[in-house]
């Protein structure tokens, strides 16, 4: 697994700190590291090469004083450049009324699912959407779109015995207009960009229905192939936008950069789940951080929201504020954390930690902790103070572990409690507010906003102290929280 980019750059650049300016020579090694990171994130070879050149040109001549870490400096340049490149162009959909949108893409990229999401999005903006089924090949593709239309009360048009796609499109459009629709969405069949017959079909459909927006729906995890796909589709059907789907997976999403760089077609939407509401407008900075392996705090918070039920989170927050926290709470937090996924994948989302492997050892340690708490009586869990020698011996035996394991846990627990006491009052409130602001919707936040395993226990070496400085621009959403 990759170390974090900043760390690797730090090593590559250790000799040039305080030595004047960045030059092509002294950056060579570090830019090689950046290139590797981009390639590992599936950025296309040529795109990566050109991008490195741009970064190199921007960096040459910049002062490297003793005060700055040259690794961070270059990462910041890269990050800003990436945000610039990804965010160029209009990321908004046309506001025309009526609006015609045509979806194109490879098989299995998620066109039909996205069509439903877009319809819902447009309805929220005051449109009356109609879905036109133009996939006449995949078995039950029409049924799939029809189901989505029925479940969400969208207008729907199809012709089950007709294979003439341009004609279906034309008639669907006429029908939708009569029905009073003003957002007409054409869901086309998946096709390979090199399938000449099918590309011809989509060209004819386009001529007939004259879409205001032709959107390429592409899997965010596409490999080097992304470039061929985007380029060829864009040549056949001039595209107005790219939609990246399945971003709720853990792909780094370098394909997005490739497609944007090669075609200059703006990225407009992100698909982040199977539900019809799982649609996001595009944020270049979040994607840039993801490509660079800088973690995705927002996703982490979102996952936490999914895993923790609201009442439980409120109760926990109150308890934390009173520093009234016992082993039962510890256990339930642990359970919530487990619902968020394997520890390893959670850690990867944290800024600056994408390179840290959480292996079996750490997962095992969690299991031990759970076993120890489970072999306590309820009374013991609620009042850890009563844990005397004989109780400790019994608990350790019950968990199949040594007393020293339990002692370590208790000690860790006490430290955690002490820390919570320190965090009480205005500081804590400030932090909670920050968490809410970060989510942008005044949500629940992570219960207590911190890792339930105490001061970095269970994570190899604990959390790095300089988390904040690792994020470009020094923006650390965990600012003010001490790990």
């Amino acid at each position: 697994m990759l170390e974090t980019l900043t760390d690797r750059l730090g090593t590559a650049l250790r000799n040039i700190q305080g030595k004047g300016k960045l030059t092509e020579e002294n950056m060579a090694e570090s830019l090689q590291e950046v290139r590797k990171a981009l390639l590992a994130a599936d950025v296309h070879f040529r795109v990566a090469r050109d991008f490195i050149k741009r970064v190199s040109e921007k960096s040459v001549g910049q002062e490297v004083t003793k005060a700055v870490n040259p690794g961070q400096m270059i990462v910041k340049i890269i990050h800003d450049e990436l945000v610039n490149l990804l965010g160029e162009g209009t990321t908004e959909l046309s506001t025309k009324k009526p609006l015609r949108v045509m979806m194109v893409g490879l098989q299995g990229s998620g066109k039909t699912t996205f069509t439903g999401k877009l319809a819902l999005h447009l309805r929220k903006k005051g449109y009356t959407p109609a879905l036109i089924a133009c996939d006449v090949y995949r078995p039950a593709a029409i049924d799939q779109l029809e189901t989505i239309a029925r479940d969400n009360d969208f207008l729907f048009y199809c012709e089950r015995d007709n294979k003439d796609v341009p004609q279906i499109g034309q008639r669907g459009w006429d029908w939708a207009k009569q029905q009073g629709a003003d957002a007409i969405l054409f869901d086309t069949a998946g096709r390979l960009q090199i399938d000449e017959a099918l590309i011809e079909e989509v060209k004819l459909l386009r001529e007939r229905v004259q879409p205001d927006e032709s959107l390429l729906v592409a899997d965010a995890a596409l490999g080097q192939e992304a470039v061929n796909v985007a380029k060829t589709f864009n040549e056949a059907v001039p595209l107005n936008g790219i939609v990246l789907t399945k971003l709720d997976g853990d792909t780094r999403g370098g394909a997005a950069l490739s497609m944007k760089a090669i075609t200059d077609v703006p990225i407009k939407f992100l698909g982040t789940g199977e539900k019809v509401t799982d649609l996001e407008v595009f944020h270049p900075d979040r994607l840039a951080q993801r490509i660079l392996g800088m973690g995705d705090v927002v996703s982490l918070v979102e996952r936490a929201q999914e895993a923790v039920d609201e009442k439980e989170a409120m109760r926990m927050a109150e308890k934390l504020q009173r520093a009234d926290f016992n082993f039962e709470d510890f256990l339930s937090q642990m359970k919530a954390m487990q619902r968020m996924g394997p520890l390893g994948s959670i850690v990867k989302m944290m800024p600056g930690m994408s390179g840290i492997e959480v292996g079996e050892k750490e997962e095992k340690k969690l299991k031990h902790t759970e076993a120890l708490i489970l072999s306590m009586t309820l009374k013991e869990r609620r009042n850890p103070g009563i844990l005397n020698g004989s109780r400790r011996a019994r608990i350790a035996k019950g968990a199949g572990l040594e007393v020293r394991d339990l002692n370590a846990l208790v000690k860790q627990f006490q430290q955690m409690k002490k820390m919570m006491k320190m965090m009480q009052g205005p500081k804590m409130e400030k932090m909670m507010k920050k968490m809410e602001k970060m989510q942008g919707k005044g949500g629940k936040g992570l219960p207590g906003g911190k890792n339930p395993f105490g001061d970095g226990a269970g994570l190899p070496g604990g959390l790095p102290d300089d988390l904040g400085s690792r994020l470009p621009g020094g923006k650390n959403p965990f600012d003010g929280m001490k790990f």
Binding site: K36, L39, A40, A41, D42, H44, F45, R46, L106, Q107, G108, S109, G110, R138, P139, A140, A141, D143, Q144, E146, T147, I148, D151, L192, Q193, I194, D219, A221, L222, G223, Q224, E225, A226, N228, V229, K246, D248, G249, D250, T251, R252, G254, A255, E274, R339, M340, G341, P342, S345
Partner: protein
């Protein structure tokens, strides 16, 4: 019907400007001309653009470079053979084999992320097994996606293969359980379970898969005998993460790589095999059922490097 090699090369030809031009025996990098520094750069680009990833790319480059150091007269064709040999070595043992002749029903669970081609592949396999006389049965375990049932139903009607399905939103494990009972009663040798697409990082969905396994084991301790991960050949390095997690959570027995009829090289499979040693049973080279073909490491390696068979 075209063979694996011919089909794959057709795809290669369509790729401009890199692979075919580079690796064709007529001219290009791997033709008769001598290797030099600029052809090494081209080679590096070609290997990366095939999604081989950093490790395999570096290994191939190193071997060719070291051969070049020993022999400055090294020609493109020789370099291609070296490259193909590295791939063959890395993919040694990657050709999956399985047996459907046992007394019990062999259950094959088809798993994968959304849109990788599970349902289409399930249908193609059903057709093949039917032709081979294994009397296959299909279980529609995707009870989640809109019209998933209709999709597999339409396939099974076309192919005249019996299907066990429930309603939208039903318990996938219950469908699997019923499908097993039906397959046994009808004397099927093989039961194909078409499961819902799930991203590997969704814990609850992975747990649902484990439940399917637990429930099947009420019928047979060994079921499902096979769990095949269906991977989209145009996906990059994330394929490895997908394979790793599915294997860890569900215990895979092999892979199927789909959509290799485009211009993608499916190089990620090399990385997966390197790390997980999961065999590759089939590759999908087109839309038609006969386009699903058994994987051959040798053919794959030769096709990639334009070495004639």
């Amino acid at each position: 019907m075209k063979g694996f090699f011919a089909k794959f090369k057709d795809g290669l030809k369509k790729t401009t400007p890199t692979f075919y031009k580079l690796f064709s025996s007529a001219g290009g990098l791997f033709g008769g001309k001598k290797i030099d520094a600029s052809s090494m750069d081209e080679l590096e680009e070609a290997l990366y653009t095939a999604d081989f990833g950093v490790e395999t790319t570096e290994e191939i480059l190193e071997e060719i470079q070291s051969a070049y150091r020993k022999d400055k007269e090294l020609r493109g064709q020789d370099a291609a053979k070296i490259g193909a040999n590295v791939l063959k070595r890395v993919l040694d043992g990657a050709e999956g084999d399985f047996d459907l002749t046992g007394d019990e029903v062999t259950v094959i669970a088809m798993v994968g992320v959304n849109g990788s081609g599970k349902t289409t592949t399930t249908a193609k396999l059903a057709k093949r097994f039917k032709e081979q006389g294994y009397n296959p049965m299909v279980g529609a375990c995707d009870t989640f996606r809109a019209a998933a049932n209709e999709q597999i139903k339409e396939w099974c009607t076309r192919l005249d293969v019996p299907l066990i399905a429930s309603h939208h939103g039903a318990d996938a494990a219950a469908v699997a359980y019923d499908a097993y009972a039906a397959a046994k009663a009808r004397g099927s040798k093989v039961l194909l379970l078409d499961t819902a697409g799930r991203l590997h990082n969704k814990v609850n969905l992975m747990k649902e898969l484990q439940k399917i396994r637990r429930v099947l084991q009420k019928h047979d301790d060994l079921a499902p005998q096979h769990a095949w991960l269906v991977l989209d050949g145009s996906i990059g390095s994330n394929s490895i993460d997908q394979a790793r997690v599915f294997h860890q959570e569900f215990g895979l027995t092999g892979l199927i790589i789909t959509k290799l009829d485009g211009t993608s090289r499916g190089g990620a499979l090399v990385g997966i095999y390197r790390e997980l040693k999961l065999p590759i049973f089939y590759v999908g080279l087109g839309e038609k059922p006969e386009d699903l073909q058994r994987f051959s490491a040798e053919t794959y390696a030769n096709a990639i490097f334009g070495v004639e068979e």
